[in-house]
Amino acid sequence: MRLFFTLMVSPLILLADLEVSGHLDLDSQVYLSAPTSKHKNSFTAKQTLELGYSRDNLNIFTKLYAQEDYYDTLTQEEHNDRTFIRADELYLKYDFSDDSVKLGKSIEFWGALEFRNIVDAFNPDDFRVDMFNTSKLGVWNLAYSHFTENGEFSLIVKLNEPDQKMPASPYVYYFLPEGIAYEKSLESSDGTQRPSLYLKYSGTTDSEYPLDYAFIYENGYDSQRYFTTNATAISAPTEFRQKAYLVNKFMTYNTLVVDATLIKLEALYVKVDGQENVGDYSHIAFGVEHTLENFENGAALGLIAEYYRYDTYEDDKYSDLELFETMQNDIFIGARYTFNNEEDSSIVGGVVADTEYAEQTYYMQFESRFMEEFKVAFDYYYVNPSQSTLTAYKLLGKHQRVGLNVAWYF
């Protein structure tokens, strides 16, 4: 009887500490400018479910994500291959007084800048999700952290490199050339199970102008990849495949607070380990964000300027173009207007100008809450690619889109 009672009650105790949340999204986009071979719109249903269990110092967390593409439900049309379910996170974390241990599949964020975080290299992106909205793939890892009064030291071991799947070519953000297939299994120099090791130290200074800083050293697979093909001396390529290679990588990201201005720096230097195609490179980005307050009804305006610079150091190896690096000499100028109203409405917009290949990306996003449980978001993007150089945006082609997303949160 006691056993029966224990078996009956135990799950109820667990459920009492279980937190459930998530959202259902309906996402539609219309492409006003896109290549003729692509679908001129997309309709996607998305679901995110998060389950968290906490008791004392133990946390167990999982996040599931699923999406269904309208074209994948049709029999007559060409499919987009964008329908899937994915476990983004599934980890167990235990907190000690000054330490913590985390084991499982998780997503981390590293970075300080607004438009793009060049050091946010722990998780690869899923290409099947909207190109302008980051969707990271969880990776299996083991992490130990030790906390000091103002800082944190972490040792993280990434246990594998996941494959990155690609949508089918009718989807507008399939960016490989027409007629080229993508082989999803990742090619790697030492096998995808070869662990990558990260040492991270971060903290905050207790000074008049406080600085949040982080330094990361990585020995393992680079987040930058390149493509291999099946081309031979007598035949053109029909298949592309991603290749991962080993590096020693040094990264830093920092935010300095000077009055109402945030000054940000992200930088990395990569020493490539015995690779015939990719040489050493660096990427640096500098940004300033200044907030002006006391607009109508307490609204605030954030002004943002960022500069990105990418350099390779071996002329006989791949350059930024072969590596599809889009932020190699780019300026971002943007603004965020926060209405500070009951619906938490905001407008974000800006332009990214490539100063080397003369291409520009313009965008604007508006979002707001309605009926307390719903959010609506509109966006507009316009990409004007280089006319003369074969950049990643040139492969995408001149691109213009409007999007609408409606989400129900629970």
Partner: protein, 250 residues
Amino acid sequence: MMKILTLLLFAMSSLFSLTNYEAAQKSEAVMSGFEDATSQMQMTLVNARGQEKTRTMKMQVLEGKDEDKSLMEFLTPADVKGTKFLSYEHIDKDDDQWMYLPALKRVKRISSKNKSGAFMGSEFSYEDLSAFNVKKYTYADKLDEVIVDGVAMYKGESKPVSKYSGYTKLITWMDAQTFLIHKVEYYDRKKKLLKTAYFEDYKNYGDVYRIGKITMKNIQNDKTTILVWSNEKIKTGLKAKDFHKRYLKK
């Protein structure tokens, strides 16, 4: 009879009258000594048409000698659930503030220079929600003794020290017996009355009082925000390390 006696004593006390600064010190003293507190906070936003929207938050506060630390987690609305706000208050420099955005797993540094920004679309600004500390203000010498609804009150004027404050002047009414704040009028940078806050439902924990409800009425836009604290516990044993940035991501 008791009321008459109280008023009589109040009139006599003017012979040994306090300065405005001393009254503020006593007011701070009766609210100090809680060491730390955990509570749930409900924020009701009422627009000019009387329509209401509710937000709920979980609060942790650590009392420092001059500098409090606080960690706030949003529970509703659902789209901001899990968003956390960590603040280290400072007297001699700007506060340290970070926001955790759970959808991105991102801890974002926030500039605290502009103290007058509205908090979560409410009629409270960030400086309204920071802990009261006498050092944040300068005080006019004059302290009036007034009767409000039959209760003896002290009425005094103060000015924020910070040039980044959204206010030029505050007029405070406090209970003459308990030194608990009853009402504050906030004057904007144009020296016009902007908001009035009413403080109610104080909880007495023996040697310290804690506020239970604040109603902030914006005179200029007719909006009101009501903050109500519930399930508050003090002296729970929280330490400075419980306000480490690591707990933003927990």
